[in-house]
Each structure stands twice: as structure tokens, then as C-alpha cells.
């Protein structure tokens, strides 16, 4: 189902052709990070900390170095001390997260690595490395980390954003606030006030493909890296920083990627693989297993949040007060900043205060995960909104419609919104039959909404016209969500040639201009705009060549349906094929580059409704019906847009009902496998129904907004609200697992 404001009559944009990467993936030919093999390649193995917090007293690698097949061993001392070099604190954190120096800060933190001829030899040598630790007390949650006299992870961490500046260090990296109006006045105008406290656990992006990297270092100081990442230019920059070398010495090629969701915007294996390769003089492959992925790569934050909101009897929100503390893991940088900006962004609230804290603790450093920070924040606020709607006996969608941000609304994070489609997503849900379908026994219905900024940033593209009139579209955006198809569709639309005549390619860091990561839902917007720009340069060139051929002025030539036409029809048209075949006679090969820092970012909104059935005997929540409506701006590739919407919802369902990092009292993760870390599988779920709302972004040539993230923002609250509707119990802790639901039901009956 799609709701479209206008029908622009596109020939290719908005169609559902066969995906360009489909054949290679279904036949097993696609080369993922772990698939590459080079002559003489060694296998690497990482040695990881078994402690949540400990000082490294000594590392003895002598036994490992003398073992059969071992060609290289590295520890933190093999990497430059960026702090001594005056590097930016964030670069130091990246380096120390890649391999520990004096202290380990979480279970799984890298302390050493080996490379050997076989995997077995590498594993045996890793086991032979002796690390002496002085175990230190640890903190695992924001409550423990913020407690008075808590053990400190970083003895120099002084909280930013607090006046006056604290004199003593703490585990709180920073504090942020957003405020407007007068809270006392706002709550005074409310007829109903609801105040609740929420907690969420760290959850992992759960990409199926573990991290993998192959490095091949040359004796001249240069190195090639093949890795699974969302941004090989970012990998190049961060790897160069950790190694203390120029970016120009590294060439990074993006492998096919088996999921990322934000978690593959971070380096882990790359600098270690390069250093091992340099030491060994041979290529080195490093591949994580699932245990390593869970223990040592970034999940998103666990949180504690308090939300107080007021509403008048006519449904107008009068005030909101939000306090939130986000786990950053071992180093500063949780997404609490984005959480603070998004938490109230969907609504027009006259009086509010948002206060947030970025808190370090002895868990893996958090990494981005779809709309970082927004899902946790929405779980809290959208749950309270549900209580407010109940408090004034108002339909939950009507409450949201009465307060929804529209064009011109001053967003809680500052600027006024341009044209947005939040209201349209609310109306789409309200008008859908799912919203009024009769519920069965023990079933309940929940609604929630979400907001995400989307991003622009830098992208580059090159378009080559081949001799036969086909075209190659080259970008630097690793394809994690169908971007190759979107690029091909937009190029086909621009050039006027069939989609099948376009070959989209993701090039390495030496073959295409700089491109920021595939993240922030930015690629179809920003890289797409670069592709469109490059195509338009090509078209101008083609018009000029046709004018030259016909010996007419340029303004006598127009480009229509993939061919040059004389405006007065006095010349037979010249197709792209005709012009390409004779390109040497008209100036040489036809090719164009475009690079840009994208403008015109269009915000995304999603509204979702789900029906659940709660088993009162077991506490198991079964999702029986789920509908998501999302403003895509324009769905260039509807198949992929729906896939992004469905994927976000499914991940949100896992986050809401099952997923969590479980730690023992020593700070060791107890469930680092897919057997014990329960993500939803197809048989757990109903079909996720999609309603693609299209309110075109006026600032993009095809109206694109970006669709990859906002879909994961509402599900946890939608589920909690449905459970409330089914049982009368308000769940305030994630995950809403059977045991917790059962406990809540039992407390209710007591």
C-alpha cells in the first residue's frame, strides 16, 4: 500500500525490478568479508580480556612466538601512543578500543593478536600468550557508574556540560539539556499528569555476518585492506589513525556486507590485521566468531529514563520533563545527545526540560544502531503518551494528531521543521482496517510514533557511458540496504535508458571520490544526488555532442527518453547507443564525476500499530498483527523501502520482547550466542504490513528523505502499549520478556 501526494510519471523510479546483487548472492558468488583468500595468507586470532576491568601488569608472548606456524604477534605496545602525540581524545578512544594499553575496560577487550599459517596454530598460540592482570572493581549500569565513590574507568574524566566544572573525575562524560518555556506553568495547565521511570538493556545490531578483514601490507609501507564495513573511507581514516600512518598508504575495499545497522561504522580488526601483516610480511585474515561479536563490538546503550508529561482535557500537551542516562560502554559517546534531541521532537510542546547524561561503564563501547538513541527515548515518551490518552479518554492517534509537529513547528531541538509527513503517517494508520479490526481474547492494540533526522554529508559518484550505450554508475557507498538498485533506478530515470542497462558498482577508496559512511539513512539522498548530478553532466555532454554532429546550436538539442532530439524535428534522433558508439569522433569517452556535501535533508516519521496476544499463564507475548506507516519522501525502490520498514520493526520487536545483554557478577557476558541472545525469527512473526507514505522532500531531485532508521523507533512502545491494552499492566522495563510480563501480571493480581 502506498499513499502518494502526486504522480510524477516516472518510468523507473518507484518500480520493483530484479536487484542487481541478487544473482550473486543467491548463487553464493558474492564475496563477503570472510570469503577473500590471498596467496600465502595467514590466519589471525585475537586474545581478549576475560575481565570487565583490570590493569594489564604484563604480557608474555615468548611461548606463542616460538610455536609452530606462528609468524607474528602484536600487543598494544606495537601501536603508537596517540595521547603522547597530542591526538584528539576521540581518536585516542578509538585506538584504545581497538587494542588495550594499560587497562582493559570490558570483557572481550583486545589485548594481543597472533597470525599463523593455520587457524588451529593461531588459536593455540593465542592460548599460549600469558597476560597478568590486576583485577579492578567494575561498574555495569548507569546506576552503578553514577553512584558515589564508584570505581572510575578513566581517572581524568571530568563531566562536560556542568557549571561550575566539577573538580573531581567521574564516570559521567557529559551532561546535556534542552529546555523551553516554564515547566511549572506547563504542568499547572495540565488536567492529567503522568510520571514514569523506564529502563532498557543493551541490545546488539545482530547483523548475521561477523566482522572480517584481510590486510596485505607491502614492504614500502602501503597496505590493502578488504573488510566488511558501512564505510571504507571511515575505515581507512580510523585505521590510519590507530597505526599512525598517512591515509594515503592504505587502500580499502568494501566487501559485500551481511548487515550492519550502524555497527559496522567502527573499526575493530582492520589495524590489527595490518600490523600483523606488516610483521609477518604476508597477508593476514581476521574473522570474528559470534562470541567475539557480542562481547567486543558495540551494542546500543542500556538506559534509565524518567518522563513526566502533562495534558489538558482537550488533548493538548502542556509540559514534559525528561531525565535520561545512557550507557556509553567503555568510552564516552553514547547516543544520549540524539536521544535528547529526538525524545520530544515529534510533538509541539510549549514547556519542557530534557536532561541527559553520557555515562561510561565496563561494557563494550556502544556503536550506532538504527536511529541511535531515538528508540530508547521513544519507548519512554510514547508509553507515557499512551497513559495520557487513557487518562483523558482520548484515542491515542487523536492525541498525537492534536500535538503533531507540522511544517513550521519549532522542534524541541531547535529549528523549525520544513515540510514533513508525520500527520500523514498518523492518518494512514487511523484509516487502515487494522486499526479497527476486532480483537480476540487476551489481545490488545498499541500505537506509537517515532522521529529521526536522517543525514546528508559527503558523497561522490562517477557515471561512465560504455561504448554500447549502457552505463556504469560508480559510488563509494557500501550497499547495506539496496542502494545499488536505487542508484541504478535514478540513473535510468535521468539518462532515459533501461534499468537493466545500468551497472551500479561500489568502488574502493582509490577509485571513487570521498564518501561518508552508509549510515544516517543518507545514501539514497546524498549519494543519489551525486549520481543525479553526474548523470546530468553526462546529458549536457551528450547534447553538446549531438549539436556538434548535427552542426546546430546547443539549444536546438534536448534529451528525451534516452536520445538526443532536435527541437524542430529536422534531424533523426541520436540514441545514447548512437552517441556512445561514435564518442571518439565527438571528443572521446563519455564520463562524468560529481561530488557534494548534501543539502536538503528531509526528516522521517513513522507511526505503527500492533496487536498482541498475551498468554496469562506463561507471560509470552505473541505479535498477531503489525502495521507500519512511514514517510519515505519518495520510494525510489519500493521493495527495498518496505524491506527497511519491515526490518526496523522486526529488530524493534526483538528489542522489545526478548533481546538483552546478560552479565554475571564478574562482568562477563553470559549469553554471547544466538542460542541465548534471542532474536526474532520468521516463525515468531506475522507479516509486517507496510504503508509507504510519500510526502516528497522538496529539496531532493526525486523527493527522497531516507528510510533506513526511523522504523525501529516506535516498536518497543507500540508493543508496551499493546500489552497494556491486553492486560492492564504497564511494562516499564525492556525487554518485556515472558518472565517479566508474568511477574507484572502476578503483581497486578496480588
Amino acid at each position: 500500500m502506498a499513499l502518494t501526494e502526486e504522480n510524477p510519471g516516472y518510468k523507473w523510479v518507484g518500480t520493483r525490478p530484479i536487484r542487481p546483487d541478487g544473482l550473486e548472492k543467491v548463487t553464493g558468488k558474492a564475496q563477503f568479508g570472510a570469503d577473500l583468500a590471498l596467496p600465502g595468507m595467514l590466519y589471525g586470532r585475537i586474545v581478549r580480556s576475560p575481565h570487565a576491568h583490570a590493569r594489564i601488569v604484563s604480557i608474555d608472548t615468548s611461548a606463542a612466538e616460538s610455536m609452530p606456524g606462528v609468524k607474528a604477534v602484536v600487543t598494544g605496545s606495537d601501536f603508537p601512543d596517540l595521547a603522547a602525540n597530542g591526538a584528539h581524545p576521540s581518536a585516542i578512544d578509538v585506538s584504545h578500543n581497538a587494542i588495550a594499553r594499560d587497562k582493559v575496560l570490558y570483557d572481550g577487550h583486545v589485548v594481543a593478536a597472533v597470525a599463523a599459517v593455520t587457524r588451529e596454530q593461531a588459536a593455540a598460540a593465542a592460548n599460549a600468550i600469558e597476560v597478568a592482570y590486576e583485577v579492578l572493581p567494575h561498574v555495569l549500569t548507569v546506576d552503578e557508574a553514577m553512584a558515589e565513590n564508584a570505581p572510575l574507568l578513566h581517572e581524568g574524566m571530568i563531566t562536560k556540560g556542568v557549571e561550575p566544572t566539577p573538580e573531581q573525575p567521574s564516570n559521567v562524560a557529559s551532561r546535556l539539556t534542552h529546555e523551553r518555556g516554564d515547566l511549572e506553568q506547563g504542568f499547572g495547565e495540565a488536567d492529567v499528569v503522568v510520571e514514569q521511570e523506564f529502563t532498557t538493556k543493551p541490545v546488539h545490531q545482530g547483523y548475521i555476518e561477523p566482522h572480517a578483514a584481510v590486510a596485505d601490507a607491502n614492504s614500502d609501507g602501503r597496505a590493502n585492506i578488504w573488510c566488511s564495513s558501512q564505510g571504507h573511507f571511515q575505515m581507512r581514516a580510523d585505521t590510519a589513525s590507530v597505526l599512525g600512518v598517512s591515509q594515503g598508504t592504505l587502500k580499502v575495499t568494501a566487501a559485500e556486507i551481511g548487515g550492519g545497522f550502524g555497527g559496522k561504522t567502527v573499526i575493530y580488526l582492520e589495524p590489527i590485521a595490518v600490523r600483523l601483516s606488516q610483521r609477518a610480511g604476508r597477508p593476514v585474515k581476521l574473522v570474528m566468531d559470534r562470541d567475539e561479536v557480542f562481547r567486543a563490538t558495540g551494542p546500543t546503550s542500556g538506559t534509565r529514563m524518567k518522563v513526566k508529561m502533562g495534558v489538558s482535557n482537550d488533548g493538548k500537551l502542556t509540559a514534559a520533563e525528561v531525565w535520561m542516562a545512557f550507557e556509553a560502554g567503555a568510552y564516552a559517546g553514547s547516543p544520549v545527545g540524539a536521544a535528547g534531541m529526538t525524545v520530544l521532537a515529534a510533538y509541539d510542546i510549549p514547556h519542557f526540560l530534557v536532561e541527559g547524561y553520557d555515562v561510561v561503564c565496563n561494557k563494550p563501547r556502544v556503536a550506532a544502531y538504527r536511529a541511535p538513541g531515538a528508540p530508547q527515548a521513544a519507548f519512554a515518551v510514547e508509553s507515557v503518551l499512551d497513559e495520557l490518552a487513557r487518562g483523558i479518554d482520548m484515542d491515542p492517534i487523536d492525541l498525537r494528531l492534536a500535538n503533531a509537529a507540522v511544517e513550521g513547528t519549532q522542534a524541541a531541538y531547535g529549528p523549525k521543521f520544513p515540510r514533513i509527513g508525520f500527520v500523514e503517517t498518523l492518518e494512514a494508520i487511523k484509516e487502515h482496517p487494522n486499526y479497527t479490526t476486532e480483537l480476540g481474547p487476551n489481545q490488545g492494540r498499541g500505537v506509537a510514533a517515532g522521529f529521526w533526522f536522517n543525514a546528508g554529508m559527503s558523497s561522490s559518484a562517477t557515471v561512465h557511458v560504455n561504448e554500447n550505450g549502457t552505463a556504469t554508475v560508480v559510488t563509494g557507498s557500501p550497499d547495506i540496504g539496496g542502494s545499488r538498485q536505487s542508484m541504478a533506478l535514478m540513473a535510468a530515470e535521468e539518462l532515459g535508458i533501461p534499468y537493466e542497462s545500468i551497472k551500479p558498482v561500489v568502488a574502493d577508496t582509490e577509485t571513487v571520490g570521498f564518501t561518508d559512511v552508509t549510515g544516517g539513512s543518507r545514501v539514497t539522498l546524498a549519494t543519489g544526488a551525486a549520481v543525479v548530478d553526474a548523470c546530468r553532466i553526462v546529458i549536457e555532454d551528450l547534447r553538446a555532442r549531438a549539436a556538434k554532429t548535427w552542426d546546430v546550436e546547443l539549444d536546438q538539442v534536448e534529451w528525451v527518453d534516452g536520445q538526443a532530439q532536435h527541437v524542430e524535428g529536422s534531424q533523426p534522433p541520436l540514441s545514447l547507443n548512437d552517441l556512445a558508439a561514435k564518442s571518439a569522433r565527438t571528443g572521446g569517452p563519455i564520463s562524468a564525476n560529481a561530488s557534494l556535501n548534501a543539502r536538503g535533508v528531509g526528516a522521517a516519521f513513522s507511526t505503527q500499530v500492533c496487536d498482541v496476544e498475551v498468554d496469562p499463564e506463561t507471560g509470552v507475548t505473541q505479535v498477531v498483527r503489525y502495521l507500519t506507516a512511514q514517510d519515505a519522501g519518495r520510494a525510489i525502490s519500493p521493495d527495498y523501502v518496505e524491506g527497511q520498514m519491515q526490518g526496523g520493526v522486526v529488530q524493534g520487536i526483538g528489542w522489545g520482547l526478548n533481546e538483552e545483554y546478560v552479565y554475571d557478577q564478574n562482568g562477563n557476558m553470559e549469553n554471547p550466542s544466538f542460542l541465548d541472545y534471542r532474536m526474532p525469527v520468521a516463525s515468531d512473526l506475522p507479516m509486517i504490513e507496510c504503508c509507504v507514505v510519500e510526502v516528497p522532500n522538496p529539496a531532493h531531485p526525486y523527493g527522497v528523505r531516507g528510510v533506513g532508521e526511523v522504523g525501529i523507533v516506535p516498536p518497543m512502545a507500540a508493543l508496551g502499549n499493546a500489552i497494556k491494552d491486553a492486560t492492564g499492566v504497564r511494562m516499564t522495563e525492556l525487554p518485556m520478556s515472558p518472565i517479566k510480563v508474568l511477574e507484572a501480571l502476578n503483581e497486578q493480581s496480588d
Binding site: 556540560g161 540524539a338 550506532a368 531547535g414 523549525k416 544516517g520 556535501n597 543539502r599
Partner: protein
């Protein structure tokens, strides 16, 4: 002149001032003018902020024009997934 609004987090640089009016043709000159008014804020804005001009959020937009009556907000740089 453009109206520049400071988030609560930036007001530590402005002594609590939440809004000023500044004449500047582009973002870089705007930041320089703000740094003259509130020493130290320039580095903070240059390193750790996006800018929203009349609602459009931009990153690394030093030479973006600032219209005569523009509404300008500086925002924390965001990380997407």
C-alpha cells in the same frame, strides 16, 4: 540580521544568553562573529556542531550563505546507523 539561538548546552559559553542577532554573510563569518562576542564558542561550534539555517540542517557548511533574516541554530553532530 540573522537570529542565532543557543541550546542550553551552548549557553555556558554565552553567559546564559539564549539568542543574539548577528550580521554575517556565511556560516564561517557568523561563527567568527559569535566567537568575538563569546570567546571560546567558535572552537566548540566548529568542531562539534551542525548548523540549521531556516530549518535546513547542514554539516561542514562553512561557506553556506546566511540570509538576512535567517533563523540559525547550532546542533550537536549526530551519528546515524
Amino acid at each position: 540580521m540573522a537570529k542565532v539561538y543557543f541550546s542550553a548546552g551552548l549557553r555556558e559559553f554565552t553567559g546564559g544568553v539564549s539568542q543574539v542577532q548577528v550580521q554575517a554573510s556565511n556560516v564561517r563569518r557568523l561563527v567568527a562573529a559569535l566567537d568575538d562576542m563569546f570567546p571560546g564558542i567558535g572552537e566548540r561550534l566548529s568542531e562539534g556542531s551542525s548548523v540549521a539555517i531556516d530549518g535546513e540542517i547542514l554539516t561542514d557548511a562553512d561557506f553556506e550563505s546566511v540570509p538576512e533574516d535567517a533563523e540559525v541554530h547550532f546542533l550537536d553532530i549526530l551519528q546515524g546507523g
